[in-house]
Amino acid sequence: MYGNRILIITALLLLAIPTVGCWNSVDINEKAIVAGAGIDKALEEGKIDVYVQLIIPGRVQNAAGSGSQATLTPDAVWVASATGNTVFNAIRDCSLKSGRKLLWSHSKVLVIGEELAREGIDKVMDLFERDHEFRRKTWVLISRGSAKDIMEASPEYERIPVFEMDSIIRGYGATSKIAPQDLNKFLGKISSKTTCAFTAGIEEISSERLRRENKVSSFRLSGTAVFKNYKLVYWLDAYETRGLLFVTGKVESGIVEIKCPQEESKTIAFEIIRAGSKIKPEIRDGELVITVEIHEEGNVGEGQFAGIDLTVPENISLLEKRKADAIKKEVEGVIKKAQQFNTDIFGFGEAVYRKYPGEWKEMEKNWDEIFPRLEVQVKVDAKIRRTGLISNPARIK
């Protein structure tokens, strides 16, 4: 009996050897790990260029070990490219060059070239939702130029360019001046009948330092690309972007600057601690009016030795009012621009649907006529809570 048991246990343990692993297991060193991808319109009409940024694992490791030598080691990535009628075909063709099969599950960013974006992205997005290797958490960025330049640009702080983009995006809250969207949110808006999609832009930059290191260029995230019917229509600048984020309640932090009321040459900067918004649609006498209510709280961050007494409550309320006006200006600026281009990036239509589902059915059909002439009231309530470690700016007494 005892011997029997040992036999069974041995048999089971032996069974463990052939049963581990999958049907078509591929070792990690036979795969090429994709950090991110870029898509451009190809020179040939109707075709698409795909650029795939592949991580070279050995070089990432070297860099970590060599410490200060990091900047002198070669790039830890390699960009493969191919052209095709469909993205899928082009991506597969990339493995003609890489040799290894591409592993997409760690891909973080998808960059779309401006030219392709202006022509329409409807032909290139399907694969990223359909294929099981892609993740809906992938960031979508629009290049102000070609996606190729961005994919081939060098990182300045991280080792892998796409990882640098990823960390910039995840730190967006510090400024709230970029509005990056992941695939899920971007596609959600792009497939909406009335809401227009937007996402952050990325541009190539060059500098003296990069040239010294024989690198072509680097990149930075800037502005917001706005889409209507799959097409890129216009760009928002940094403050318009923050206005948009104020309306949608996605401002995390950032700096608001105002001129000092007592001394016009000085600027006072406030740090946003928290901000929120409410979009309230209302039908008054058959006319739709949207009220955007923004609540913001912040601290005095910098005073430039300005001549204002911050220990006086009246001065604080005056500054609160000025700050509210500054935020209101950002918000009204972006609303005006969005109405001018007839793009409902704020989801006003959806807010109306939530409150007036019955009336919305009629409005939805005519939303393109209603939105540009919509009356939007902006109410900003800005608070100053603290002044930091000092109260008054230092002055010559």
């Binding site: 049907w23 939702e129 899920n184 959600g188």
Partner: protein
């Protein structure tokens, strides 16, 4: 006695929860959303009311015909001429519905995780496992389930908790925008969550305290309603109208998680829930089928049937549907109707007839 083992009420509740939720969580939300949109969670709650009615019918039948399964008491209730065909119908139904489950099981694994593996591989693997479990009897299936249950609950909660920061609960408004009809249509689809209470009609005789099954089953239905409502609230809040396009919204939800730099993949939670949960489900229906056939034919032992039925299941799961579109279409068109008629309607008729006859005596 065909089955010597006994299970507790507690085990029945857990079996019921996992049997239903394992497939409903993954295949349910998209179909439900097509009808009731953002009010889908309401329609599940409405369907839970039907679930409560159904379990009260089944437990009442269990009280009237003590120690007997629905296969045995159907002929007592309505006579041999009608009773035998009804029992046969149940035998066939348990096999047919299980063919769906086996196919769903293989389809998800092939479609999402291991696309190059032949589908038959998964089908054969799960059938071998299920055959083994069923041969060991009800008690063993219930105990495996006891083992899986806490992990299953943790996995379910983890998936939703980790993605909560991406949810936008505004997607759930407006409530009842299109009136009550879509919610009713959605409730009709969502009855599939609760029709499977029929397994209780097979298991009640094997419970150690057969008189006290209603309360635990009621708890199971309420929990199931909550799980369903939470699932739909979660996916609607995360994906909005995008759900319509998603084949498996809860899986997409798990893949959407990026809680931190290193915790970025929650697919294994779903794979665990899927393999463990669906294994239990397949074993439960496999067991129901062989037990039903053995009782119908008055056999002394059900074990000789286990392997042949397993082979039939594997073959049916492959030949019944040629692709996933057909599978999902049939789930949407056939399962709710069959559920309401066979799993809900027949027990109701049996109960009415049994009560009338009793009064007549």
């Amino acid at each position: 006695m065909l089955e010597g083992g006994k299970i507790s009420n507690n085990q029945l509740v857990k079996l019921f929860l996992i049997t239903v939720s394992s497939t409903a969580i993954l295949f349910g939300p998209t179909i439900s959303y097509r009808y009731a949109r953002q009010d889908s969670w309401l329609s599940i709650i409405l369907a839970a009311v039907y679930g409560i009615v159904l379990i009260s019918i089944i437990t009442s039948l269990g009280m009237i015909f003590k120690g007997k399964t629905i296969i045995q008491y159907s002929e007592i209730a309505v006579g041999k001429v009608l009773g035998k065909p009804i029992s046969l119908l149940y035998c066939l139904f348990f096999i047919y519905i299980n063919a769906f489950v086996v196919r769903e099981f293989s389809e998800l694994l092939v479609g999402v995780f291991l696309p190059e593996t032949p589908m038959g591989f998964f089908t054969i693997a799960i059938i071998i496992a299920s055959t083994y479990a069923v041969r060991k009897g009800l008690e063993v299936i219930a105990r495996i389930n006891d083992l899986f249950f806490p992990l299953y609950v943790v996995a379910f909660i983890a998936v939703f908790a980790l993605v909560i920061q991406e949810m936008d609960f505004k997607n759930l408004a407006p409530v009842l925008a299109e009136g009550f009809m879509p919610v009713l249509e959605g409730a009709y689809i969502n009855t599939v969550w609760f029709s499977e209470a029929i397994i209780a009609a097979m298991f009640i005789p094997y419970i150690n305290k057969p008189g006290k099954t209603f309360k635990p089953l009621l708890l199971a239905v309420i929990l199931l309603g909550l799980v369903g409502a939470l699932t739909l609230i979660g996916v609607v809040a995360t994906f909005g109208s995008q759900i319509e396009l998603l084949e498996y919204p809860v899986l997409s939800l798990a893949r959407y998680i990026r809680a931190s730099d290193f915790l970025i993949r929650a697919d294994p939670f779903i794979v665990f829930m899927w393999i463990a949960g669906v294994f239990v489900k397949i074993a439960v229906f496999h067991y129901c089928a062989v037990l039903a056939i053995a009782q119908l034919l008055s056999l002394k032992d059900y074990r000789p049937l286990v392997m042949p039925i397993g082979i039939i299941l594997a073959v049916l799961s492959i030949v019944l549907f040629s692709n996933i579109i057909e599978l999902i279409n049939q789930i949407e068109r056939l399962i709710p109707v069959l559920g309401l008629v066979i799993q809900g309607g027949i027990p109701a008729v049996l109960l009415i007839v049994a009560k009338l006859r009793k009064r007549g005596k």
